[in-house]
């Protein structure tokens, strides 16, 4: 309870607004262009990598916290950040290993849970 009382509402509001805007941009892409979900996700992750590499995205992360890291651009930022950090330490090998190292938790979890879900769940028709 003590944790909940200490929640930083300003930080939370910034997070809410930034991630909301990122999602609205995605929604405009869905509705105005004929891009498929896969393409939109690719655009987001690549944009995140590039903005991360240019050192721009970290300002958004500083400002909005999870509002910038949870959207898929944040996944891209994570990849870029990991690569650069590792490249600093290990050179060329780091450029290859750093990105996946930094984002391995998410990828592994998605693969693992996907596999588990396929074992126990069945697809159902959308009612609407």
């Amino acid at each position: 309870m003590e944790f909940l009382c200490n929640l930083n509402w300003i930080e939370l509001l910034k997070c809410f607004l930034v991630s909301g805007v990122l999602c609205v941009i995605g929604q405009i892409l869905i509705d105005k262009t004929k891009l498929t979900p896969a393409r939109i996700l690719v655009i987001y992750v690549t944009t995140g990598v590039i903005l991360g590499g240019l050192g721009i995205y970290q300002y958004l992360v500083k400002f909005a916290g999870a509002g910038a890291t949870v959207p898929l651009t944040g996944f891209g930022y994570n990849l870029a950040n990991g690569t650069i950090q590792a490249a600093k330490e290990d050179g060329l090998i780091g450029a290859f290993t750093g990105g996946l190292k930094a984002s391995s938790g998410g990828i592994a979890a998605a693969v693992f849970f996907g596999y588990i879900a396929s074992l126990i769940a069945k697809p159902k028709i959308k009612k609407q």
Partner: protein, 151 residues
């Protein structure tokens, strides 16, 4: 031909004007608050981890894993597609959409077996994300090294 629309271009323009548009304002509003809510949940998990004294990087990973797990469970319970229909990009853009794009095909293609069905088709939507994300990040790393070497 007695088609009153003579050229393909003319017909395509006519079709564009005839086709109903998506209710973009409503869609954007839903995307905004659902997307914001998902990421705010992420922020609360993050704050909780930090509050418990967990390292910042590890906290970020915990946020991803928890959101992915929630998304996988909702997909397995046949709920995520309803959220997705309502929220559009609001549930697609956060890491929940990435998780859903892996869980949904692995459930669907289970009927083609665990190797070529689940194992291979799992990445039909998410595969490109990994390919382009990882490849771009390696290029970024190499460029970083080249620029630093030159300076």
């Amino acid at each position: 031909m007695d088609n009153p629309l003579n050229t393909q271009k003319e017909y395509q323009e006519y079709v564009n004007q005839k086709s109903p548009n998506s209710p973009i304002l409503k869609n954007c509003f839903n995307a905004f608050w659902v997307g914001g809510l998902i990421c705010s949940i992420g922020q609360i998990i993050m704050d909780f981890c930090l509050y418990k004294g967990i390292d910042k990087d590890i906290s970020g990973t915990i946020v991803s894993i928890v959101l992915i797990a929630i998304s996988a469970i909702l997909t397995g319970l046949n709920i995520f597609n309803k959220i997705g229909k309502f929220a559009g990009a609001g549930s697609l853009i956060p890491i929940t959409g990435f998780a859903n794009s892996i869980v949904a095909p692995s459930m669907e293609y289970k009927s083609e077996g665990y190797i070529m069905g689940v194992g291979a088709k799992m990445f039909t939507v998410a595969g490109p994300v990994l390919v382009y994300g990882i490849s771009t990040s390696i290029i970024v790393g190499i460029l970083y090294l080249l620029i630093n070497a030159a300076v």
